[in-house]
């Protein structure tokens, strides 16, 4: 696995978020605002979000990197780097 397009990653994020917060409207997400300010998710939901991303993208997201997934923009950038370095 190498690089994935921005759109692909964004869709993966919306998929994973939709699984934990079904009422989420992906069109209403402001990319540079913290996701947790826009979607009602707690730490349990967030862990499930990470697990789901792991399933979709096949990459491991260590706990210390959780802060990188704060906003949609930062999450896409982080996941792009992560996917590129993952063999």
């Amino acid at each position: 696995m190498t690089s994935r397009s921005r759109e692909e990653l964004q869709n993966a994020i919306f998929d994973a978020l939709g699984a934990v917060a079904p009422e989420m409207d992906s069109n209403a997400i402001v990319p540079e605002r913290p996701l947790r300010e826009q979607i009602d998710i707690d730490s349990f939901d967030f862990l499930n979000f990470i697990i789901r991303l792991h399933e979709i993208l096949g990459i491991d997201i260590p706990e210390k990197d959780y802060a990188e997934l704060l906003t949609l923009n930062s999450a896409v950038e982080y996941l792009a780097r992560r996917c590129a370095s993952h063999q």
Binding site: D42, S43, F44, H54, I61, E63
Partner: protein
């Protein structure tokens, strides 16, 4: 709660049942509840008829487990109807009033009426399974007519209402008539919390706890773990709360009829927010005896089922104390409202980096504010303080919380 009225059987003789399956609905003083069965097998005989009032612990039905033939089941003596149940000492969720010891001695599997306390259905007079069905069928519970005036709404009533509705309603109006589950939950919460503030003389304590050790331990532990096996920070705290409660037992139990009934078991009610508003606090049973992995698995299972509306009667009825982890949402401290007849609620605030004085020097530490709201009828501030001290002490040695 000492007695309940059997409202509805959901199984009949010959039916195969699974462990955890809802087999009957019982109306109690605290609302209607689903009764689960704790063994798999085949229903052999329904002993109690619909509409009968039975004491807690009464034999409701006989179950044949695999390899057991019907002939092995002893004859059941006629069970007299019990019009009024005398007050008996004991705790809800723990005590069983055994009225048929001879049957119990034979070892026949039994279905028991579960003693319950269930705010979510209090005063609604509808069984949880009927409510779920109503939700599925889009039936407005408020408009459902029961067979007899004032009776508990049963699944059959919902089915009748749904049939009537499909005959009379156009598809356009069907959606608008969907029951407002959240409005009902607000009513139930309002009732329980109003009673709490009316009856329970709360006292409140707070203390800051150094969470550096447990946070560092958790980081190291989760680093070793696969993403799906990671522990949430609340999990070691749950264990520490449960263990600390064993040291101050007057915070763990119930206030009933003017007396404290402490519980030997620690069934930790976890306050879990519902998506879109409302909350429930179902039990993690024997939290003091479980490993962190088991607690995490139980919590995961519980939250998942809370969010999908599939809780079990035992989980709703059994909590001996409540733990709220509102810090999760960013608040530094939470002073809870006790869920009657419990006698305490423990709160944990957000873990933040704060200045901390140690050996005369100011250092930066991860700190959380732990709080206790307790019933002053059952305990005093001194004992409450000892509980928070024990909690703080236990959290300094996370490796021992396993």
């Amino acid at each position: 709660m000492e007695a309940g009225t059997l409202v509805e059987w959901l199984v009949k003789p010959g039916d195969e049942v699974q462990r955890g399956q809802v087999v009957a609905v019982v109306e109690t003083q605290k609302g209607a509840v689903d009764v689960e069965i704790w063994e798999a097998g085949t229903v052999d005989k329904l002993v109690v008829e619909t509409g009968k009032k039975v004491p807690v612990g009464e034999l409701l039905a006989l179950l044949r487990v695999a390899g057991e033939s019907a002939a092995e089941i002893p004859e059941i003596p006629e069970i007299p109807e019990i019009p009024e149940i005398p007050e008996t000492p004991g705790m809800p969720g723990v005590t069983r009033i055994e009225t048929a010891p001879t049957i119990a001695a034979t070892g026949s599997p039994r279905v028991e009426t579960a003693p319950v306390y269930m705010a979510t259905s209090a005063r609604l007079r509808i069984s949880p399974s009927a409510r779920k069905l109503a939700e599925e069928l889009g039936v407005d519970i408020a408009s459902v007519q029961t067979a007899e005036p004032g009776a508990v709404i049963s699944r059959a009533d919902i089915e009748r209402a749904a049939q009537a509705k499909t005959k009379t309603m156009s598809p356009a109006t069907t959606k608008a008539a969907a029951p407002d589950w959240h409005a009902q939950m607000r009513i139930a919460i309002a009732a329980a919390m109003s009673r709490s503030k009316r009856e329970i003389p709360h006292y409140y304590l707070a203390t800051d706890i150094d969470m550096s050790a447990v946070s560092a331990w958790l980081v190291a532990e989760n680093l070793k773990r696969d993403v799906a096996q990671r522990l949430l920070p609340v999990v070691p705290c749950m264990k520490a709360v449960a263990l600390a409660l064993r040291e101050v037992p007057e915070l763990n139990g119930f206030w009933i009829d003017g007396a404290l009934r402490p519980s030997a078991a620690v069934h930790l009610g976890m306050a879990i927010a519902m998506r879109g508003g409302g909350l429930v606090a179902p039990a993690i049973h024997d939290a003091d005896k479980k490993s962190l992995d088991q607690l995490m698995a139980d919590l995961r299972d519980l939250i998942t089922r809370v969010r999908s509306g599939r809780l079990r009667s035992s989980e709703m009825s059994d909590p001996t104390v409540t733990f709220t982890n509102l810090g999760e949402q960013g608040v530094e401290g939470v002073f809870g409202v006790i869920y009657p007849p419990q006698v305490a609620i423990i709160g944990l605030g957000k873990i933040t980096e704060r200045p901390w004085v140690e050996d005369g020097a100011v250092v930066v530490r991860k700190v959380a504010t732990a709080t206790l709201a307790a019933d002053h009828r059952a305990s005093d501030g001194h004992r409450g303080g000892l509980f928070l001290a024990a909690l703080g002490r236990l959290l300094q040695e996370p490796e021992r919380l396993r």
